[in-house]
């Protein structure tokens, strides 16, 4: 069972005073006190875990964010930042003694700058909202998490979100140019801007993916790209999972980087087909969607090359999209895979490990064995191009033994990912969900150095505590230098 930091009774005792102080900073409806209204914020996309926040604050200016954080810092009150609340790892799970800082009112795009190919926006704007603002002029924002219609760009920065196109175009971190950031003591700083790279330490890089533990982003500058001239998708079916996995490796080995390369196994194919009728073949064990985008002439050449590779890898089904409508239908099944699986099972749990591509057949085989061991069904969808797996574990939360089995199964899958050279999370973040597995991937020293970074930003541990790190160390303890007793300086080193 998940343990969160014990609520600070002295903070809870001052609740009325704290609410009043926050109201003085954010007037009107910006402070939510009533229990039934706070209920809307009790969980994010990882809805198995819920906690009512002490109070919700919805600031609408950077000055308010700064003043709220400064107040909480002085009063030693914990703060949980929240974007759109679509995160899948519990990063925005409230704390019973914490202020939930919702950024939803920061919902305006501030500037579109084509000369510098960037957009300056407030963090509460949705991922798709950025693309929509520049789409008519032929541009788009590349990272496209499945939740892009709802998730906010500020949340994308907190999680370093990916999407189906990140094999070719990178994650959020590769597409953000600058932010305005408020530190826990209320200090407002600017990192980056419309120029490239940092002039000193790359704080922007380390903020991205920091899951709300280092600061609160109040403005964002992202890079936009010209839409590819053409995009076409190939649907490829294989008689085995291995053949599909081999095809993925062979495409990459041939020097081709598709815009997207997704794979589904038979249970996922059937669930998706039943849900959206994408016209997927039902008699194959694995299905690949390979999308090639770019200049038309190059796309045509690459389509021919991928078809040839697929044939060599034993594809038994091959279909090329001949219209935008058909390409969208190919994707519709994949993009609806999660809700589709939701229709065939009362509950499901989505995993997010990444593995070296070559381990795909082995890991899929092991996941099958683990399913048998835990007596649960599993459907697999993956971003095959970059080895990011999303096994969906099917269970019924009304049966307590099934929830426990699903959690154990999920943990086994993630440990397996690490064992074969991969990582715990490719794009959903650690949050609370994978927090206690961090030790499978990182040593004590590795984790201590990461927590020391936290100490540089937030020495009192007030921002989003209980997330990412399994054990919370005090900064004073982490700062201690251990000098190994009796160490001879520079033993046995060649000198010049």
């Amino acid at each position: 069972m998940l343990t969160m930091p014990a609520p600070d009774e002295s903070v809870l005792a001052r609740r009325a005073e704290i609410v009043a102080a926050l109201r003085a900073i954010v007037p009107g409806e910006g402070v939510i006190d009533a229990e039934e209204e706070r209920r809307a914020y009790e969980c994010d996309g990882l809805s198995a875990y819920r906690q009512l926040p002490m109070v919700v604050v919805l600031p609408s200016t950077v000055e308010q964010v700064s003043a709220v954080l400064r107040y909480c810092h002085r009063q030693k009150i914990r703060v949980v930042p929240r974007g759109a609340g679509t995160g899948l790892s519990g990063g925005a799970l409230p704390l019973a003694d914490g202020v939930l800082l919702g950024m939803g009112k920061f919902n305006r795009i501030l500037e579109v700058d084509y000369a510098n190919r960037c957009v300056v926006t407030q963090p509460g704007v949705t991922n798709l909202g950025i693309t929509n603002a520049v789409s008519a002029d032929g541009f788009y924002y590349a990272p496209d998490p499945s939740s892009q219609i709802a998730c906010s760009i500020g949340g994308n920065i907190a999680e370093n979100s990916g999407g189906v196109h990140c094999l070719k175009y990178g994650l959020t971190t590769n597409n953000v140019l600058g932010v305005q950031l408020v530190l826990i003591d209320g200090t407002v700083i600017r990192l980056g801007g419309k120029h490239l790279d940092a002039g000193g330490y790359d704080m922007l890089g380390v903020i991205t993916g920091s899951e709300g533990l280092l600061g609160v982003v109040t403005e964002v500058t992202v890079r936009i790209l010209r839409k590819p001239a053409t995009a076409r998708a190939l649907l490829l079916g294989f008689p085995t999972l291995e053949a599909g996995g081999d095809c993925v490796a062979a495409i990459i080995a041939a020097g081709i980087i598709p815009g997207g390369m997704e794979m589904m196994d038979k249970p996922a194919i059937h669930a998706a087909e039943a849900f959206v009728h994408a016209d997927y073949p039902l008699d194959v064990e694995s299905l690949l969607i390979v999308e090639l985008d770019g200049p038309a002439i190059e796309v045509d050449e690459l389509i021919a090359a991928v078809k040839e590779i697929a044939t060599q890898c034993g594809a038994v089904y091959s279909r090329l999209s001949n219209s935008e409508e058909e390409r969208a239908r190919f994707w519709a099944g994949r993009k609806a895979a999660f809700p589709a699986v939701g229709r065939i099972s009362p509950d499901y749990m989505c995993m997010d490990g990444t593995i070296p591509r070559k381990q795909l057949p082995f890991v899929l085989g092991r996941i099958g064995e683990l399913a048998t061991k835990h007596k649960l069904r599993v459907a697999n969808v993956f971003h095959a191009g970059d080895g990011n797996l999303h096994p969906l574990i099917l269970f019924d939360a009304n049966k307590p033994e099934e929830l426990a089995a699903a959690e154990a199964f999920g943990a086994d899958i993630l440990r397996l990912c690490v064992e074969v050279g991969g990582v715990l999370t490719g794009e959903h973040g650690v949050g609370i969900e994978k927090r206690d597995l961090m030790g499978a991937m990182f040593s004590e020293d590795d984790l201590a150095q990461q927590q020391r970074l936290k100490c540089a930003f937030d020495p009192d541990g007030l921002l989003n505590p209980g997330k990412v790190f399994p054990v919370l160390h005090r900064c004073a303890e982490l700062g201690r230098m251990v000098v190994r007793g009796g160490a001879v300086p520079f033993p046995n080193l060649p000198r010049f």
Binding site: G200, P295, T354, P356, M438, V483, V488
Partner: protein, 403 residues
């Protein structure tokens, strides 16, 4: 003459740094030393030479990932990748010639300085290709960051912090980078005779086109005449260069389309793969085009649309890369070598940074080599340094005076 320590393994590196930390004895962290002239002069008790940590530890082309010891020569990595038709996507500049050496440095050095060549605008900087590391902090502790797969959000992305930290936070022992297929062919569209402001506008048009331009640079007449590519050397005027890479038919077709789109603005010409490769290497490495060894060299990053305004404000030899966003300036090393004027023009441009890449030692000691951060960011940077290297033993003063 300072003592040089040359560890041959991760454990030796850890022991070396730990012992130095115990004594609060400072170390100048160095790969091959090819960029020793880059940054502020370091006054350290000993040199920590990482060039003994060499060798590729894993490379499977189909995984697009390579792991090597940090001291492995960059040239060796690039040759190995080329054998398999792959490359480092960030096109690391070989700056050795700026400092009078043919050495291209080490893989760790390329990462620690986070430099990127012309392809930065399409594929990102070193930091974008840096997936994982094993390092020893100034505390003398081994820590791992990142991973060995391309998609990973597990924990803080400490790699981003290490890239561009010039060895002031930790000594890199092992580096994992993402690699990419090298394009089969390239072409370069040339436009002649444009002024800087016109050139920046043309480059923006090209970068905003669907033709996937992977390099956009401007050489004023004084730089063009130094190129080893005949078409450019003999142009007798300024040159805009726009690179298109891909399959043979694709790069050819896109280059023709782009030339067609821009030919009403200036005289156009095309370079094929051999000449194009030669030209972009010159732009990447800078020294061939700004060869005067007596000049101070600045590297300035600004919003691309501000590139022309910066070169107008500072009297200097120059070239523009990244569509105007990267400016290499060759200034007179007298006085502040143009520091005040350059940094004022950056502020006027709405942000960016200038780094003094080469200058006589006294000058590098006297003026801020890296862009001075505003007070709050400087304080945060100092706190981060403190958490990695509390006794300030790693490359003291390399980035900022007193750090």
């Amino acid at each position: 003459m300072s003592d040089t320590l040359r560890p041959r393994s991760l454990d030796e590196l850890r022991d070396t740094v730990a012992a130095a930390a115990a004594d609060a004895a400072t170390l100048e962290v160095m790969g091959s030393g090819s960029k020793r002239g880059f940054g502020r002069p370091v006054q350290a008790a000993r040199v920590l030479d990482l060039s003994g940590l060499t060798g590729v530890r894993s490379y499977e082309p189909a995984e697009l990932v390579l792991t090597a010891a940090a001291g492995t020569p960059l040239a060796e990595i690039e040759a190995l990748l080329a054998e398999k038709g792959q490359m480092l996507g960030f096109e690391p500049p070989h700056l050795g010639a700026l400092y009078g050496t043919a050495d291209a440095g080490t893989l760790g050095g390329a990462i620690a300085s986070n430099l990127a060549g012309p392809r930065r605008i399409k594929l990102g900087a070193a930091r974008d290709h840096f997936l994982g590391a094993v390092s020893v902090s100034g505390r003398g502790e081994i820590f791992k960051s990142g991973g060995k797969v391309v998609k990973n959000v597990t924990g803080y992305d400490l790699c981003k912090l290490l890239a561009g930290s010039f060895g002031t936070l930790a000594a890199l022992e092992e580096v994992t980078v993402k690699v990419l297929p090298a394009p089969a062919k390239q072409r370069t569209a040339l436009l002649f005779g444009l002024e800087p402001a016109e050139a920046v506008s043309v480059m923006a048009q090209a970068l905003n086109s669907p033709h996937e331009v992977s390099g956009a640079a401007y050489l004023p007449p004084a730089a063009a005449v130094r190129s080893s590519v005949d078409y450019i050397r003999r142009a007798g005027t300024s040159v805009v260069a726009l690179r298109l890479e891909g399959t043979p038919r694709s790069s050819e077709t896109r280059c023709k389309a782009l030339c067609g789109q821009l030919s009403h603005l200036a005289a156009v010409e095309e370079l094929h793969t051999m000449n194009s490769t030669k030209l972009w290497r010159e732009i990447r490495d800078v020294a061939p085009l700004l060869p005067d060894a007596s000049k101070a060299i600045w590297r300035v990053s600004v919003p691309p649309s501000a590139g022309a305004a910066v070169v107008a404000a500072v009297p200097a030899g120059f070239i523009l890369d990244w569509g105007g966003g990267l400016i290499w300036l060759a200034t007179d090393p007298a006085g502040d070598a143009g520091a005040a004027a350059i940094r004022a023009s950056i502020r006027a441009a709405g942000g960016g940074h200038a780094t003094l890449v080469r200058a006589p030692l006294p000058l590098r000691a006297a003026i801020p080599v890296f862009e001075p951060p505003e007070a709050a960011l400087a304080a945060l940077s100092a706190r981060v340094k403190e958490q990695f290297d509390p006794r300030r033993i790693l490359n003291p003063g390399r980035m900022y005076a007193g750090s």
